[in-house]
Point group: C4
Chain length 218, copies 4
């Protein structure tokens, strides 16, 4: 039996369709968050005097928006890097993906909460915990696929597996710290959350490793 079109080289569930679903959910979550930032309502004749002030008050929402958008971007990149190496899929991996996506879809809610009540410890904690859950499910995704080379090539470099794990776990660790810190200072906790994206944008050892592995593809 042979699968045409969507799954040229695979056995097990075609990974292309899991990727499609993930791309879809992530793209929608990224795009829709902006709809939680509403244009301030006021009578048009008052807009001249009030609009600037009320728009300015939206700034915490935009900051949280940018952090969430970039985090979703990072998770999207991480997910796609994992699938670069994953050769087969199975039932368990599929369900890890669905749980991962479920946590992803909670991010717009946490973002709206954090944007609306940015000085509440509860908001920061819920926000950080949502991102932690996404990060941990991405970690489990990689752990499951690579342990005993279950769904990856036999010859996949164990060092690359370890480096990727360390990279993924970085966000949950910082965010866990943010939750702990929030008991003493909400502001410091918020700053820790905002630092997470920066940690990932800077290229690290794993990126050079990945680059090399890929340059060796051809």
């Amino acid at each position: 039996m042979n699968v045409t079109g969507t799954n040229p080289g695979g056995n097990g569930l075609p990974k292309s369709r899991i990727e499609t679903l993930c791309d879809g959910v992530l793209a929608i979550a990224m795009t829709l968050m902006i709809f939680n930032i509403r244009v301030p309502e006021m009578p048009r004749e008052q807009a001249g005097s009030r609009l600037a002030g009320e728009l300015f008050q939206l700034w915490p929402r935009f900051v949280v928006y940018v952090v969430s958008f970039v985090m979703l971007g990072i998770y999207w990149v991480g997910h796609h890097n994992q699938f670069h190496y994953i050769r087969r899929t199975d039932r368990v991996l599929l369900w890890i993906n669905i749980v991962f996506l479920m946590f992803v879809t909670l991010i717009p809610f946490s973002t709206a909460l954090m944007g609306q009540y940015p000085s509440q410890r509860l908001s920061v904690d819920i926000y950080a915990i949502t991102l932690i859950l996404v990060g941990i499910s991405l970690y489990i995704h990689w752990w499951y696929a690579t342990s005993s080379h279950r769904l990856v090539d036999e010859e996949l470099d164990p060092q690359l597996i370890t480096l990727a794990k360390r990279r993924i776990i970085r966000a949950p660790v910082i965010l866990l710290l943010a939750v702990a810190v929030s008991f003493f200072s909400v502001k410091l906790s918020v700053i820790l959350c905002a630092i997470v994206p920066i940690v990932y944008i800077v290229p690290g050892r794993i990126d050079r490793k990945w680059g090399l592995a890929r340059r060796g593809d051809g």
Copy 2:
């Protein structure tokens, strides 16, 4: 006449585009449901005392959310498993898909209704019936494609066809029971709805069968 790009091996309508539409609609429905759970509105100075309580009251919505998300995941997997075996498409199959998608898009509405009025028999019934309609259209989809091997390979194992049918019909049957039970006890009915996803996550005979069939692909 030959189709380039999107439909390499097919005759009839290209199944890849039907899959794309389904993936799109399912991904959007899954992601958008969260937007029916609104962050509670209150003056920021009251958030310290009221936020925790009002967030806590959202818990039924989150429970229903998780059940709906997982059910959509299950239907997505089921749909994609069917298309793994479907070789050709035709006009009727296309319209079964469109009806299936129409019922899928009702799930966010039913989920919002159930989340808002979780103790009303009417909410539970509408919720269960929506899921039943999706399940039945998925059943008809498989029945139509496989009866007299209409759109699948001649040599497709009849036992696999039957096992798949039994697996799909499980949700509608439990949910029909939930509707019946709701006349006596709404709580028991809600519990039955929540059980449905669990029934599917546990792997069954069909999964071993599918696994074997696929391992034999290469």
Copy 3:
């Protein structure tokens, strides 16, 4: 110069990406319309007595929803049938597609308007005109691609081109009649709108023709 991945056989803009954009916009429009039907708000303790009545009052919205969903399905099928025969794309075709999509995105607005004020002549007229605009842009799409076989194969049967044109123009004609009739009877006009999907679901001469043309592909 050669394009990898997305456009194996094409010259001109790759048609696969236009198809992706169209699939995306149509899937989103189809899924999002349901979010214009809001769960009725009331205190939970009143839900027992009021919920059934207020849900029942939503019925015109659901009827319009079903009609719009099916119409979007029909336009999606029509668009994809056209691309089955279109071999090349150009700048003009791209812009016809973008205009087509712009009219498509107006459908959720017209649907919400029609669902909210179903007995207003203005609602029915705007609803019908939106669908007419989508239909006409789909007609122009086909006309542009096929006139002097601009973007289709030289040997494409002229009879098929004509039959497809006739099929596409059917909706705008009936809907134009609905607009005219609305001056005398809004109810009759609504019925005409609701008839349009039925006209398309019933297979016609063109479908047999298309079926034959495709069966001859292999």
Copy 4:
């Protein structure tokens, strides 16, 4: 090591998945903007006398909607034209894309703001600046990919690179002028914003160039 399915000819990150994410985000942004234009709420018995007037008052929103939709269409075409020539991707290009998408997702907010307060200088400025940011990130995208032929073919015509740059920069330049003009006349500024799409729809030298380059593909 070889990538199956999604990245046939590439080394570096597969460009097809970046394109998928961009297509998704753009399709969603394009489709969702309409949901910021709400059907006017009024008691059904008053609809006969008030509906026409209140719908008519929405016209600035529809005008802004059309401009934003066409601009997103233009940016989508521009992005896809760039990827037509980009052969490889890297970490930096990926992040330029994510920043590009972040600015894209701000367009629905700016569009809603502009539609609601069309005569406010602040609205026009924010609207123009959002479009400028999208345009500039698209410019940087092309500049990064083509400088020293970093991610494009060695033999890519330098004249085509320059022509594409000039074409992309046109929108930010006109929009910057719109911002400057807004200090004197908001109306003139709005007109300048509305002119931008027209500048792009008219085919230019680059289009003939692109057309030629592609006709030479086969």
